[in-house]
């Protein structure tokens, strides 16, 4: 049984009233959703809230899941919407209060970077969140340009341009960091 078929089986169980079966989705996809929420929001606490809201919304509207995409894709779409909603609220608060929340920016300089995984995460965090999101969807979860356009509501051309610019920026940034750190 492949991943999608297993997910569909659990969706059916939850729809039949076994709410406990939803635990399976939380355990399986919490890190996937957390990665995208962090990409958009940067702050871990806010990202965790966004993931929680996404799971709750997924549970509420599970009966509207029509199997047009995989369950994972459906969840990622929900968490991207939740995180964007939160980011809009934060942006409004920043404009109204006139200061940047400390958690949302690197205030204490780069953290200790010991390996390539830490280096790439740091570089992705330094990028604009749209670019970092596009790169993660493309290279981490291997979505096509068309799927990324659907997940982000960007349109095909914006997606292509964003990925192209993001590739350029991250490679330059990583090379600069490697040269600086001597990795």
């Amino acid at each position: 049984m492949n991943d999608d078929a297993i997910d569909c089986e659990y969706v059916r169980k939850v729809c039949d009233g076994d709410s406990e079966s939803f635990r399976f989705f939380i355990a399986k996809y919490k890190d996937v959703l957390f990665t995208y929420a962090c990409t958009i929001l940067v702050d871990r606490r806010l990202a965790e809230e966004a993931v929680q809201d996404a799971f709750l919304n997924a549970f509420r509207y599970l009966k509207s899941f029509k199997n047009k995409s995989s369950f994972k894709t459906w969840l990622i779409k929900i968490v991207i919407n939740e995180a964007n909603k939160k980011r809009k609220q934060i942006d409004t608060n920043i404009i109204l209060s006139g200061h940047i929340h400390e958690d949302l920016a690197w205030t204490s300089g780069p953290p200790e970077i010991n390996d390539d995984a830490q280096l790439i995460r740091y570089a992705l965090d330094k990028l604009d969140s749209d670019k970092s999101l596009a790169l993660r969807l493309f290279y981490l979860d291997e979505y096509s340009i068309k799927e990324i356009a659907q997940l982000t509501n960007w349109g095909i051309s914006k997606t292509k341009v964003t990925i192209h610019r993001a590739r350029k920026e991250i490679t330059q940034l990583v090379k600069a960091l490697q040269a600086k750190k001597g990795i």
Partner: protein, 104 residues
């Protein structure tokens, strides 16, 4: 593309961020359980209101029939008024039944 650039881009496949919160699953399931309980209690009310609606319609018809048979030539206005009132009550219940449930 430069092989070095390609190598860098392939590193993104190891950029998954772990939540590292042991209580997250429990916290989430608590909310899911609450939502599930709210849905169950809603469907109970939903079923009850359906029965109430049917009973009200039956009473309505019985009252009209009684009014017609007891004095066919001269229908009692009070009986018709009662039937109308029950009909309105049924309509209100029906519209409440159709209202979407908004969880707290």
């Amino acid at each position: 593309m430069d092989p070095k650039d390609n190598e860098i881009l392939q590193l993104i496949s190891s950029s998954r961020i772990e939540m590292n919160d042991n209580y997250f699953e429990a916290k989430c399931m608590k909310f899911i359980k609450e939502q599930s309980d709210a849905d169950t209690s809603y469907s109970f009310l939903h079923k009850m209101s359906s029965w109430f609606y049917i009973v009200a319609i039956v009473i309505c018809f019985v009252l009209i029939a009684l009014g017609l048979f007891s004095s066919p030539g001269d229908m009692i206005p009070a009986v018709l008024l009662q039937a109308f009132a029950i009909g309105v009550a049924s309509y209100i219940i029906m519209s409440f039944k159709g209202r979407p449930h908004i969880p707290q």
